[in-house]
């Protein structure tokens, strides 16, 4: 993936990665596009659910404890150079992204194995579909 630095002088603060990795592609294409009811024969639902799950922010006690920890680690940086907090945040972001990709990939695997064949017949597409995403 080509990632331009967003710290180049004279503008260039806008980060413009080329969306080429699987995670980017999944984020861009899944759960999008015209939905043609009768023809959707993959267990796309499995993928959709996992994708959406990965986006849910769980406001649990654990989450709060992580926020607190992050806030308290701020002190380390104020006192001594900043390395510890940077590392901590880097780790958090890394593990977060890793989970997301894994979830989506296993979703794809699940779709592959659970081939629901109850849709072998072809019916005309319908214009109105409950699965069409409403747009703002």
């Amino acid at each position: 993936m080509t990632v331009q630095s967003h710290r180049r002088g004279g503008g260039g603060y806008l980060d413009r990665p080329a969306p080429s990795g699987l995670a980017d592609v999944i984020e861009i294409i899944l759960d999008k596009g015209i939905v043609i009811d009768a023809y959707v024969r993959v267990s796309l639902v499995g993928i959709e659910l996992l994708t959406i799950d990965a986006r849910i922010v769980i406001a649990s006690v654990d989450t709060y404890l992580r926020f607190a920890e992050a806030t308290n680690r701020l002190d380390l940086m104020e006192q001594g150079g900043g390395k510890p907090l940077d590392e901590f945040i880097g780790n958090m972001q890394e593990s977060g992204a890793g989970r997301k990709v894994k979830g989506a990939v296993s979703g794809a695997k699940k779709a592959l194995s659970s081939s629901d064949d109850d849709d072998g017949e072809s019916r005309p597409a319908k214009k109105s579909s409950s699965r069409r995403r409403s747009t703002a």
């Binding site: 023809y39 959707v40 002190d75 069409r132």
Partner: protein
């Protein structure tokens, strides 16, 4: 243009009989669209257009026995749809995983009953592209703001920061709760401010669900090609203005995946 003829010889070596093959559908385009010759889809099958009236479906042969969903399939789908978007004036992506059983079905069951609707969709995105803007907080700067702005947060931090692990759990949870709420409040204000700057240069937008402590905004924008430069310049300026606390990312242009349902 006449419908592209779909001959049996087009089938590449899929090691299976015709009855086991269906058609994977990528997108709906104008009937007179010229599909790039070198475009290959899932399983490296050649991509072709099947036209009916004013619209055409872009399809490739596909083995019915295996549901698509491997990562290579997703990447191939993305390659085809965005390849079309690069080459054509108007491309409406079809949801990944859509398969029609036979060639007649593409015309008689997919295109014929939906020609009007598909035509409107194709018109609605003509000459337009999708861009995705994502804004993320610099966590460090965000937490500094939050601590500085709320005496109670500062107090709880003083109280809990040097205690051994496992101590003052209630206070830690309370601290995290307050930090979470403060971030949520800021997120709303910052997202609104960014949108206010960006949306006047767009035709439509779709907010995508935001997640995590650091995400401020994730929005898909439908943009007239003629306004794309102006929007990108605006985003560059914005990115510089906010870079101390927020990083802006721009993805795309892509095919209008988020606007395929809007007429």
């Amino acid at each position: 243009m006449t419908p592209t003829s779909v001959a049996h010889e087009d089938v590449m070596d899929l090691g299976t009989t015709d009855a086991d093959l269906g058609w994977f559908v990528y997108a709906v385009v104008d009937a007179d669209s010229r599909i790039p010759d070198d475009l290959t889809g899932l399983d490296d099958q050649p991509v072709q257009a099947v036209a009916y009236g004013r619209v055409a479906a872009v399809v490739s042969r596909f083995r019915l026995e295996r549901p698509p969903g491997r990562s290579a399939d997703l990447l191939a789908f993305h390659r085809v749809v965005d390849g079309l978007a690069d080459a054509l004036e108007s491309v409406v992506p079809v949801s990944f995983g859509s398969v029609v059983l036979d060639q007649e079905g593409i015309r008689d069951e997919l295109l014929a009953p939906n020609e009007g609707w598909f035509g409107e969709l194709v018109d609605s995105v003509r000459g337009r592209v999708q861009l995705i803007v994502q804004a993320n907080y610099d966590q460090d700067a965000l937490l500094r703001e939050v601590v500085a702005a709320d005496p109670e947060i500062a107090r709880l931090r003083e109280l809990t920061r040097d205690l051994p692990e496992g101590a003052a759990r209630a206070e830690l949870v309370r601290l995290g709760e307050l930090v979470g709420a403060a971030v949520e409040h800021r997120r709303g204000e910052d997202a609104d401010a960014l949108l206010e700057d960006i949306l006047p240069l767009t035709v439509a937008h779709v907010l995508r669900p935001a997640s995590g402590l650091e995400r401020v905004l994730d929005v898909a924008l439908l943009v007239d090609s003629a306004q794309r430069d102006e929007l990108e310049n605006r985003l560059e300026v914005l990115a510089e203005e906010v870079h101390d606390r927020v990083q802006l990312r721009l993805l795309g242009p892509t095919a209008p995946y988020d606007f395929a349902g809007e007429v």
